[in-house]
Amino acid sequence: MGRAWKFGNDIDTDAIIPGRFLTIYDPKELASHAFEGTRKEFAAEAKDGDVIVAGRNFGCGSSREHAPLALKGAGIEFVVAKSFARIFYRNAINTGVLPLVCPDTDKIADGAEVFVNLKEAYIEADTKQYPLEPIPVFMMRIVEAGGLVEYAKMRGNK
C-alpha cells in the first residue's frame, strides 16, 4: 500500500531526471533529483510502495536508463499509465520497475491510497479496482528471470 503520484500525458525523461544529473548511476542518488524542478516534493516524500499513475506516453524522449533507475531509487516498483514510450518501457522492465498499462488512470486521484495486485492484474485506488493489461509474453520472460541481467546470466551459463 502506498500513495498515487499522479502525472499527466507525455511525461518525458528530462522531467524524470534532468540531463545535468546523468553522470550519476546510483539509484538512491538519482532519486534525490527525480522530477527536480517539475514536481519538487516527489524526491523528498516518495517512499517504498508508492505508485506513479500517469496518462499517455509516459517516459517519452531520451533513452536514459537513469529515468527508471531514479524511480527505483525512490522506492517506486510500479508505474501505471495509459501508455508508455517504447524505450522507457523496455528500460523499466530491464531495471526492475514494472510498467503497467491501465486505461482508467484518469479515475485515480493524486494522493489516493493505491495497491497493485499483479497476480490478479488490477490496481486498487481508494478501494476501487481497475484492470491492468497483461505484460507481453516475451517481456514477461525477462520479468520472471528477475530482469535482463539475470536473464543474460542464465544464457551466459548455458
Binding site: D10, D12, D14, A15, P18, G19, R20, L22, T23, I24, Y25, E36, G37, T38, R56, N57, C60, G61, S62, S63, R64, E65, H66, S83, A85, R86, I87, R90, N91, N94, T95, P136, F138, G147, L148, V149, A152, K153, R155, G156, N157
Partner: protein, 416 residues
C-alpha cells in the same frame, strides 16, 4: 502479401519471414555507445558476467554529450570508457570527432539494410541511409555488447508520401515538424515511419538525416528512407558495399499511409514544452529570444550552416541574442571552416564551438536561466531540457533560427 522495408530487413537478419508484430531475436550490424549512457552499459555488461564484446569492430564508441569533460564525474566516465575500449580492442573516437549520429554514418559504420542500435534515442537517424536503426537503453545495450543480438518486436509501418517542391527557405526540418504536429508525440509509438515520395528522393542526405532523426519525437522505433542513388553516392568511399535495391513491396501491408504536398508547408516552429506543439512561425513571430542555438545531430551539418549564412547575408546578429553555433562533427566543422563561414559567423557576433552536442540537452554549456527563451535547431523542447524548468525552448529550421538571431525576435525566414 508483400513486405515492408522493415519486414525485409528483419527477415534477412533472422533468416525467416518476419512480419509486423513478430517478436524476434535479431543480430545487429553495429552498436553505438557514448559518454552518457555508455558507462552504465559497460557496468551492466560486467554484472551480466563480463567477458568480451561480441565483435569489437561492430562497437562504435565516442564521446559527445559532455566534452571536453565539463565536470570531474564526466572526466571519470571518459576514463572508464577509454579503459574498456583498450581492454576490448574497440576503436574509440573519443572527444575528437563530434556528435554520434553524424559520426556513425560519416565513418561508414552503417549501410542500407543494416540493423544498428545505439544507447541514444536519436539513433533512428541512420534510417536516412536505409538502415533499421533504433535507440535502446543501457541494459539492452549491455546485452547487445555481450551477445550481439537483441529482442525486437517487428514494427508495422506508417508510410509518408511527401511530394512537391519546398518554398524558398522552407525545408526538411519544417516538414518533419509538420509531421510531428500531425502525428503527435506518441502517434507512431512502436511503429516505423517510411519516408517516400519525390520530396524525399530529391532531398539530400543531410535533409534525410534531419527527418529520420526526429522519428522518435513521434514515438517511432525507426524512420527509414528507401536507399537510392544519393544514398549509394554518399556511401562511396565510406563503405565497400555494392548497391542493391531495398524498398517496400507494392502489396506490403501498411498501418497507415499519409500524403503531403510540401509546397504548401510554411516555416514551422515547435513551441514549449512539447515537440508536437507545432505552429507556423508567423503565429509566434515577434517573440523575443535570448539564445539561438544552431547545431545538434538534427541540424548541425554544413548545409545547415550554408542556409544560415544565406539568411544572414551582410547582416549581423542582434546584440541582445547569444548565438551559439556548433557543427556536428569534425568533418562538418572543416567544411564550414574552409567555406569561410566561421569567420563570417564570428564577425556577425556568434560563438562557434567545437563539435559536440552542446546546449541541446542542457548538460555541458549554454544553459538557460529562469524566464529565458531559446530558439534551437535541435530536436527536443521539453520543460527544462536546456536548463531551468522555468525557461522556454522553441525548435525550428536553421533558416528560421538565423533570421530570428538577426532580428532578436522569432522571425519568418522568408521576410529577411
Amino acid at each position: 502479401m508483400g513486405l515492408t522495408i522493415t519486414e525485409k530487413i528483419f527477415s534477412a537478419h533472422c533468416k525467416k519471414e518476419c512480419r509486423a508484430g513478430d517478436v524476434v531475436m535479431a543480430p545487429v550490424d553495429g552498436a553505438m555507445i557514448h559518454d552518457i549512457t555508455g558507462p552504465l552499459a559497460i557496468n551492466v555488461m560486467k554484472e551480466m558476467g563480463g567477458g568480451s564484446v561480441f565483435d569489437p569492430k561492430k562497437v562504435i564508441m565516442l564521446f559527445d554529450h559532455q566534452i571536453p569533460a565539463d565536470s570531474i564525474s564526466a572526466a571519470e566516465n571518459h576514463v572508464m570508457m577509454r579503459k574498456f575500449a583498450r581492454e576490448q580492442g574497440i576503436y574509440n573516437y573519443d572527444i575528437k570527432e563530434g556528435v554520434c549520429h553524424q559520426v556513425v554514418p560519416e565513418k561508414g559504420c552503417v549501410k542500407p539494410g543494416d540493423i544498428v542500435v545505439g544507447s541514444d534515442s536519436h539513433t533512428c537517424a541512420y534510417g536516412a541511409l536505409g538502415a533499421f536503426s533504433t535507440g535502446i537503453g543501457s541494459t539492452d545495450m549491455a546485452y547487445v555488447l555481450k551477445f550481439g543480438e537483441l529482442y525486437f518486436r517487428v514494427p508495422d509501418t506508417i508510410q509518408i508520401n511527401a511530394n512537391g517542391k519546398f518554398q524558398n527557405r522552407v525545408g526538411p526540418k519544417d516538414l518533419i515538424l509538420t509531421l510531428a504536429g500531425d502525428i503527435g508525440a506518441d502517434g507512431a509509438t512502436y511503429r516505423a515511419l517510411e519516408f517516400c515520395g519525390n520530396a524525399f528522393s530529391e532531398m539530400d542526405i543531410p535533409g534525410r538525416m534531419t527527418c529520420a532523426n526526429m522519428a522518435i519525437e513521434m514515438g517511432a522505433k525507426a524512420g527509414i528512407v528507401p536507399p537510392d542513388e544519393k544514398t549509394w553516392e554518399y556511401l562511396r568511399g565510406r563503405t565497400d558495399c555494392t548497391p542493391f535495391s531495398l524498398a517496400s513491396d507494392e502489396d506490403a501491408k501498411f498501418f497507415e499511409k499519409r500524403d503531403y504536398d510540401v509546397s504548401k508547408i510554411n516555416p514551422k516552429i515547435a513551441v514549449p514544452h512539447n515537440v508536437d506543439n507545432v505552429v507556423d512561425v508567423t503565429e509566434v513571430a515577434g517573440k523575443q529570444v535570448d539564445q539561438v542555438f544552431i547545431g545538434s545531430c538534427t541540424n548541425g551539418r554544413y548545409e545547415d550552416f550554408v542556409e544560415a549564412a544565406e539568411v544572414l547575408g551582410d547582416n549581423v546578429f542582434s546584440e541582445d541574442v547569444r548565438v551559439i553555433m556548433v557543427p556536428a562533427s569534425k568533418a562538418e566543422y572543416m567544411k564550414v571552416l574552409k567555406a569561410g563561414l566561421i569567420e563570417k559567423f564570428v564577425e556577425a557576433g556568434a560563438l562557434v564551438e567545437a563539435p559536440c552536442c552542446g546546449p541541446c540537452m542542457g548538460g555541458a554549456f549554454g544553459l538557460l536561466a529562469p524566464g529565458e527563451v531559446s530558439l534551437s535547431t535541435s530536436n527536443r523542447n521539453f520543460r527544462g531540457r536546456q536548463g531551468s524548468t522555468e525557461s522556454f525552448v522553441y525548435l525550428s529550421s536553421p533558416a528560421t533560427a538565423a533570421a530570428s538571431a538577426i532580428t532578436g525576435v522569432i522571425t519568418d525566414p522568408r521576410e529577411v
